[in-house]
Subunit: 223 residues, 2 copies
DNA sequence: TACTATTTTTAGCCTAATCTAAAAAATATT
DNA sequence: AATATTTTTTAGATTAGGCTAAAAATAGTA
């Protein structure tokens, strides 16, 4: 009956992300960890979400939870809003990609659909956000792109950075320092067995050493 | 200790507006009317606000309430955020001036100060919002402007519309129909005693009849 | 002034969303 | 398989922010 609350929305998002990542039903504990609450609170929330006139989650006692179609619709729309706001913050307000997550986390709960439509239009209906993640359209459809992790790129194969797997501020700030941004051209010159490092040619100019950990968190698209 | 809540913020805003309008302490009933709650709830909220480490309101039992300096600071900042968002919605997202209040009502509660600074900059540090109301700067200072109500304009004196007193959607939509917007040039040709109407010259072109009620809600600045 | 009407406060209840502690179920380990 | 560990749920409490109904204070009027 009441409009969906911020807490409810955040739970849906957590469940959506967990199910996407693992391909399985989301566990109470895992949700609690993301939400920074306790398992008991999650159970209570799940019961509320599954008890709605139109249930948003499907719950089997002790067997985890998954979203119903209605729940997925809502979660996808939240992701859409989050990523559009992040794009706005970077493109229009000159925030850097490591600063926008927290603010978008608040903005995504603004309800007015017309606002999001207009924002989308204002931004030129972008398909990807500042971290290279796809922005679902108003119907919830994501744009896919054949991208691989830099780890999996063949030696000497030229590619462009199109996204990050880890979007934590610390990783993003490190990339800033390396001047490694979305659109940067990369090519693996050599995989060094000795220390698991990788000699990279960046933008056809400078040579750069990246650890495997970094390469495992960068999505690239071959040219 | 906790950050101030949306409900608390809205009460502060209501108290601020009431005190500005009346010049007196705000009454419990008046606040309840604005907040669409009951007097008892307002009393409870007032007690909370006045009981903070740094009290936000000054309450004397049965004698109404007024904001402390800390409360004023917060209320002013809310008004700043509200008016900046309204400006954004009209200037950048092409909303019309009658649509923006509700959405700004939500956006104003977003906490990040940096966001507002950047938004202000993006908009070119505007001094007035789409309804002609002044936007306080980051220190809470309003820009004043010598403006009078259209009712008080001398006959044949040329002036420009700079704001509205009533900013309800219905009034704003009516003005839209009359093609009477901020910046429109107006001149009173004749005050008709008979029915309290006013013959106006609009933009040096067309003649228009406005009732006193409309004239009482339009701010103009003489040329 | 004394009575009436209005306004404000108090008292007690309710729901959403959290918590802790304990019970129950599922999973893992000898 | 029996037991130990982990996970999930239940039970009961708390806090914010609302409500209603009744009591108390203030204001208005005969």
């Amino acid at each position: 009956m009441n409009p969906i609350s911020k807490a409810e929305e955040n739970h849906l998002k957590a469940i959506f992300n967990l199910c996407e990542e693992t391909g399985k039903r989301a566990s109470t504990n895992a949700i609690a960890k993301i939400m920074q609450t306790k398992a008991a609170s999650v159970t209570a929330m799940i019961i509320r979400l599954s008890g709605k006139e139109i249930p948003l989650v499907n719950h089997q006692k002790h067997k985890g939870v998954r979203l119903t179609e209605a729940g997925k619709k809502l979660a996808t729309n939240l992701i859409r809003k989050h990523r559009l706001w992040e794009t706005f913050l970077v493109e229009k307000l000159n925030f850097s990609w490591d600063e926008v997550h927290e603010i978008a986390e608040e903005l995504e709960h603004i309800k007015a659909e017309k606002l999001i439509d207009r924002l989308d239009e204002f931004l030129g209906r972008p398909k990807f956000d500042p971290h290279g993640d796809p922005i679902p359209d108003a119907d919830g459809n994501f744009t896919f792109r054949k991208q691989i992790l830099l780890t999996d790129l063949a030696e000497n194969q030229a590619a462009v950075v199109v996204g990050v797997l880890d979007d934590s501020p610390s990783f993003l700030q490190y990339l800033n320092k390396l001047k490694l941004v979305l659109g940067s051209k990369v090519q693996i010159l050599e995989r060094v067995e000795y220390d698991g490092s990788n000699r990279i040619l960046l933008n056809d100019q400078q040579e750069q050493v990246l650890t495997n950990k970094v390469c495992q968190n960068l999505y690239v698209k071959t040219l």
